[in-house]
Symmetry: C2
Subunit: 109 residues, 2 copies
């Protein structure tokens, strides 16, 4: 098992407020995805909706995974004006949010 050099995954779990429409959620996701075009240290962006049948998601319905080369890159992203502007809007639509960053140890690719 070896730690991947130069990769930090920034994982955000979200539950949108109940009165938000699917169209609004789509727009918010597009806005999130668009950050990758503006914030240089943000190298990759994946997202998806929960499809688990185990009922252990604690109400979280969406997951967003951004990749960086370092924790400094994450910090640069968090304080970037484009992110600050987006986050202000986005967080107003969220009922719950959870953020965890990690340097993946890859046991099998």
């Amino acid at each position: 098992m070896e730690e991947t050099r130069g990769v930090v995954k920034h994982v955000l779990l979200a539950k949108f407020k109940d009165d938000i429409s699917n169209e609004q959620i789509e727009e918010l996701i597009k806005g999130f995805a668009n950050l990758v075009n503006h914030i240089e240290p943000m190298k990759a962006f994946h997202w998806g909706e929960d499809v688990s049948f185990e009922n252990k998601s604690q109400g979280f319905t969406h997951i967003f995974e951004s990749s960086f080369e370092s924790t400094e890159g994450v910090a640069e992203y968090v304080s970037h004006p484009k992110h600050v502007e987006f986050a202000k809007l986005y967080f107003a639509y969220l009922e719950k949010v959870l953020v965890i960053d990690y340097k993946p140890t890859i046991v099998r690719c």
Copy 2:
């Protein structure tokens, strides 16, 4: 933005109980990682400790990401005897757990 065909990510967030030693945590992680050698539909396994400075991890300290080719593969994994045996041990050491599965839409690789 297109959905990746044939990939389902199974993400587990964990907080171990306070009285668990680092050595015990290491052993549990090795046990988790070893499942990839026994459960055919489990195609990949990555894990890491939280390194976020944002203080939004809600107490979760570790993240484990397994990859499958389908939600049926996840179901096969969950009910596999090797997983059932491991999970029984593992969950006894956890204070908190959260599981979310998703089919990643890749905006940028």
